[in-house]
Symmetry: C2
Subunit: 127 residues, 2 copies
């Protein structure tokens, strides 16, 4: 087994947290509502955001548009209290199971996923 296979195996079946960031230093984080299990939002974390989240217990992300650390709810007050963090097999994606203090979406919607795609018409429908 070469070093890269060995790393992949450790990532997949080990107990060590070895988050795998992409070429831009990011990984994908999915926020779910602890109470309803609904997905509230999807965002990206760099190592700084991940460390801040682990340390504070409140969700932090990396804002790609602003190019900086972003504490979710820093302006709205709608912070996300993290109850549980889960990681996938190759450790390049995370789930944050959260208690939201208010609507998660900046539009005021409870979840950012307020529209479904009608595959017949190709149009979005609010539901």
């Amino acid at each position: 087994m070469n070093a890269s296979d060995h790393d992949a195996k450790r990532r997949e079946s080990g107990t060590d947290f070895m988050p795998k960031f992409d070429a831009n230093g990011l990984l994908c984080a999915v926020v779910t509502d602890h109470a309803s299990k609904d997905i509230l939002m999807v965002a990206f974390m760099d190592s700084e955001a991940l460390e801040a989240t682990i340390e504070t217990g409140v969700a932090h992300f990396h804002s790609r548009s602003r190019g900086r650390l972003w504490k979710k709810g820093e302006s709205s007050g709608n912070v996300l209290q993290v109850r549980e963090m889960r990681v996938d097999c190759d450790q390049d994606a995370l789930i944050l199971v959260c208690d939201p203090a208010g609507p998660t979406c900046h539009t005021g919607a409870r979840s950012c996923f307020y529209r479904g795609l009608n595959r017949e018409t190709g149009q979005l429908e609010t539901s």
Copy 2:
């Protein structure tokens, strides 16, 4: 309102499906189990994978490691039948609500998120 603000507004509140791919031509797709609401996996889609998914009703992704279209379950048979597709406010992330034909993870686990992070110890725990 400039053209970019106008586009952002249409993306956010309109009924037109205007998926926003990143600089690498990808967007993030989260697969959930229709029955349990559990998150099964997270992967990336390019426009080819998105079109194939919409056309066939079976989840397709873009494999970043193999650099090609990847029909989930193409070798294992564990395809994901898509019941519903949802899109977020800025249309750069999708949810595929699916009926999985078998375990989704290549490790044989039902979900790729078979480990939680213990924030006290920094170690992963299977649960």
